[in-house]
């Protein structure tokens, strides 16, 4: 097995435009490796939603893409406020986003559920005041 390939990008708070660009860039990388379009698509959605959460809720952080021969792992880490009630946050439609963000068309409360749907495994390590670490794994030889 060769060493995993790792790409890392810094995420700035409230930089809404950059989020789509990171997803596009990570997706281009996965495409250039010859991974199936379906995997690239799912990974891009996970990246986009996870990064959006760092942008909107997490106060900035880091996005990491790790490729191994059997899986793609997406990691999103921030040192923001953390999530108080994770079970609630995972529910479709739940969002704590303030009005000005909703007015921009974000904060529909579908991000975390969307990540869960597109990843094979999802781990979230979070606590109030401690920040949030998200890790989503997509296996190359499994469906979703």
């Amino acid at each position: 097995m060769s060493e995993p390939l790792v790409l890392e990008l810094e995420v700035k708070p409230l930089d809404f435009l950059a989020a789509g660009e990171t997803a596009t860039q990570f997706k281009e990388t996965l495409k250039s490796l010859g991974l199936p379009p379906e995997i690239c698509r799912r990974a891009a959605i996970v990246v986009y939603e996870a990064e959006m959460n760092i942008v909107i809720h997490g106060g900035g952080g880091v996005m990491r893409l790790q490729v191994e021969e059997d899986k793609v792992t997406i990691m999103a880490e921030d040192e923001g406020p953390g999530i108080e009630d994770l079970e609630l946050a995972m529910q479709e439609g739940y969002s704590s986003a303030p009005d000005f963000i909703r007015e921009m068309g974000f904060g529909a409360g579908m991000g975390l559920p969307n990540i869960k749907r597109n990843a094979n495994e999802l781990y979230i390590d979070t606590a109030p005041g401690k920040g949030t670490k998200l890790r989503a794994v997509i296996y190359l030889n499994k469906g979703r």
């Binding site: 060769s2 997803a23 250039s32 010859g34 891009a44």
Partner: protein
């Protein structure tokens, strides 16, 4: 694959002005001359706009040859009618072209564009929600862009033929004529479609020339047709004229929809690319149809036009265009629809890019090499190496299609190192001689 762009080697100065304008990074300057990687060129024509030396032109057929074949049948882009001082009325255009011994087939356009709009409207109505929004296939550069860069959007492309091709098919069916047809195009993408069509094996047109060339001939060779043909006030134009500018297609499609539909009209390359990126992230729910055109303002903004796109737009806006279909013609339209003449015969397929390696492990190795090479480059994207960016340069080097020495900053460093080495060497003395004062 044909891309409709002609490189005039003698005129190319290797200035690299063009290479950064290419949306798919398909251009290189190698040994002082520009090259286009035809398998990833979308024929948008951006590079033609950027070249200050007229080294990039439309790849059209020999004008003298076309002239020698007159009477020649013409199928012109609707935007052709907006190129002149007179209003965009097909009767006037026909008169001017007849005088030059050309035979335009405008008479077929109404049926062709109506059946196209009808087919799109029906495709929208019968399409499942996860395939929406459907995307128009009218702009061939948009189709190529999706085939090359946005594979996930391929199922959204509406399987409807260009109404210009359909016009030729209708004309042949009606007239039983087999003599060649010349397409008059305002962009490289439509010219490319005559040579390498998508969704059908061969184009119904045989030749292609640019709008600007024919427009110049009309301006020189035929007088103002509005002095010979009288047209009633207010000026009326058929629905298909509206397709020359962004939004016209959507209006037409909406007029055939049995329920209200949400359409989105976007033009300009950068906007179109942003839109497709957003679409791939699933952000455009609730929209039924996307009318995307890579040229600003639509086909009137194509690089091959003679007239200002702004004036063209005013000319169209000044026309009275009736989008209500005359129901007396319904039976005829339905019979053309039933004949499926509007349908693309072949599925649009993605144009696959070569991955970096044969399998994932090799590709990952290559990508790591690429990152290492990239880290050594100056990240200025200056273009002097003949590549649009340092990243593309790194990619070319890893693929064995370039050398680090193509980078002048690296070359400068190497020269500096080398001259230091030469200097050091020159200080070294022959070992048999040890002059005083030296140790």
């Amino acid at each position: 694959m044909a891309h409709g762009v002609k490189i005039v080697e003698q005129s190319c100065r290797g200035c690299v002005n063009c290479i950064k304008s290419c949306p798919t990074e398909a251009m290189r300057v190698i040994e002082g001359k520009v090259r286009i990687l035809s398998e990833i060129c979308i024929a948008c024509g951006e590079c033609l706009r950027r070249c200050p030396h007229r080294a990039l032109l439309l790849e059209e057929d020999e004008w003298d040859y076309i002239l020698s074949k007159r009477p020649m049948t013409l199928v012109t882009d609707p935007s052709f009618c907006t190129q002149f001082s007179w209003p965009p009325i097909p009767e006037l255009m026909t008169q001017a072209l007849f005088e030059l011994n050309f035979e335009p087939i405008f008479d077929e356009y109404e049926a062709a564009y109506d059946v196209t709009a009808l087919a799109v409207a029906r495709a929208i109505e019968s399409s499942s929600d996860n395939l929406k929004p459907l995307i128009s296939t009218y702009c061939p550069a948009v189709v190529r862009l999706i085939q090359i860069k946005f594979h996930e959007l391929i199922p959204h492309l509406v399987q409807v033929e260009s109404p210009l091709e359909t016009s030729i098919d209708l004309w042949r069916a009606r007239s039983k004529r087999r003599d060649p047809v010349t397409l008059v195009s305002s962009c490289p993408a439509r010219i490319a479609m005559v040579r390498s069509p998508v969704g059908r094996d061969i184009s119904s047109a045989e030749f292609a020339i640019s709008t600007s060339k024919l427009a110049r001939e009309v301006l020189i060779g035929s007088g103002d047709p509005s002095k010979k043909v009288s047209v009633d006030h207010p000026f009326r134009a058929p629905r298909w004229i509206a397709w020359a500018k962004t939004g016209g297609e959507s209006m037409h499609v909406r007029s055939f929809s049995s329920r209200p539909i949400k359409t989105l009209e976007v033009d300009g390359l950068r906007n179109v690319i942003n839109l497709f990126q957003e679409m791939e992230l699933g952000k455009l729910r609730g929209i039924d149809y996307v009318e995307a055109r890579v040229c600003d303002l639509g086909c009137i903004g194509g690089i091959g036009n003679a007239e200002s796109r702004f004036l063209s737009r005013i000319k169209i806006d000044n026309m009275k265009i009736d989008f209500n279909f005359n129901e007396e013609n319904r039976e005829k339209l339905e019979s053309i629809y039933d004949a499926k003449i509007w349908s693309l015969r072949e599925k649009i397929v993605p144009i696959e890019q070569m991955p970096l390696g044969e399998d994932l492990a090799k590709a990952m190795e290559r990508l790591k090499q690429l990152h290492a090479v990239y880290a050594d480059l100056p990240h200025l994207d200056c273009g002097t190496c003949g590549r649009p960016s340092c990243r593309v340069m790194a990619e070319d080097i890893v693929k064995g299609e370039g050398s680090l020495d193509d980078c002048i900053f690296r070359l400068k460093e190497r020269i500096a190192d080398l001259s230091k080495e030469i200097y050091d060497l020159s200080k070294r003395l022959v070992h048999t001689m040890t002059p005083e004062g030296k140790s």
